[in-house]
Assembly symmetry: C2
């Protein structure tokens, strides 16, 4: 496996895995690059190129063997391992995410829930006691979380990201509607619902 | 305003608006292209180019006048209008979105909540009765919704999108982890949490 794969390739591999798993559930044995391309909105040449990174699968003209392809994609994407997650911001967005079936499917386990609101700290949140965000660095030395989910407002997001990075975490899923600055060895993925809503609003206003 | 602005430009305009509104709240009068560029992770030349689409603002060297810029960006993005939204899938994701402050800020008003689960239909969901998805087309002729939020599993997403398009809606916010095929006059924005989770998992597994 090459050391650095572009984000856009990783995103396509995720899509391929989705369709390969669906095909597996339906009992299919093989899937062609043409079918994967059509489902994923790309070309079959792109599919073959993406999958050739990881060695050769199956025989020309027979399609990719589904169970092997699924296993290889899951391995590449780091699935099947346990990732330890802290939720920062004990509100509805964090809760929706924690109950999202994909969260457990990806091996994501919640090890702590944090907030900075004294009225919330100590209360119960889906079975987790809400902890003071000031405790994060201390807890992290013991619990070794991998990922922080930031489900907090934009104005505290950068300061909280700095705190998460100082606590030694190297991955952030950011729901705050603002870009975050982090060191190169930390990965941030932003789910910016405000941007998506404004994209829809723009399209409707301009009658596209 | 030009007829077709690239999605990437619309996304930057959304980011600029966020920072301009924060500057407005702090009582600032002007903001420079350098500052907007740094906050948004782009170049000042790009900022000037993006904003020049919409006529000239302020004087060279004095920065952009903040209230005018905020007003113009809001207008371009179609904010300040009411957009009528139906939520399809009466679960936690739709609920988190409906309570997200950005939802009301963008003028998004929920006019109906739908599900296909007979056990849910007729029950109360955050003040809305859950309706049968089979009713959508009939309701839409009367209520004229603009946007459908699809908070449903991948395997029913395309069939539901087809139904939404036949009912005359022209914008979809898709939370199902699958791409949707729609006609050219319909805009889809996908919030794919599974892709973001797999991107983080990949980065952690490969120790980037």
């Amino acid at each position: 496996v090459p050391k650095h794969i572009a984000d856009s390739t990783v995103r396509r591999l995720s899509l391929y895995l989705r369709f390969v798993e669906e095909a597996l559930e339906r009992g299919l044995r093989t899937i062609s690059s043409d079918t994967l391309a059509e489902l994923s909105g790309t070309t079959s040449a792109q599919v073959r190129k993406d999958l050739s990174f990881f060695g050769s699968f199956g025989k020309r003209g027979l399609g990719y063997p589904i169970p092997e392809l699924a296993g290889r994609l899951r391995e590449i994407l780091g699935l099947g391992r346990e990732w330890r997650v802290v939720i920062v911001g004990a509100g509805r967005i964090g809760s929706a995410l924690a109950h999202y079936p994909g969260f457990a499917l990806h091996g994501f386990t919640i090890v702590g829930v944090y907030d900075n609101d004294a009225a919330k700290i100590g209360r119960n949140w889906d079975g987790h006691p809400i902890r003071d965000i000031a405790q994060l660095a201390r807890d992290a030395t013991r619990e070794k979380p991998d990922i922080a989910v930031l489900a907090i407002p934009a104005d505290t997001a950068q300061a909280t990201a700095d705190l998460v990075v100082r606590a030694g975490l190297r991955a952030i899923l950011n729901f705050a509607p603002t870009p975050l600055r982090v060191p190169d060895n930390v990965t941030v993925k932003t789910v910016n619902m405000a941007l998506e809503l404004e994209g829809l609003s723009y399209a409707l206003a301009h009658n596209r």
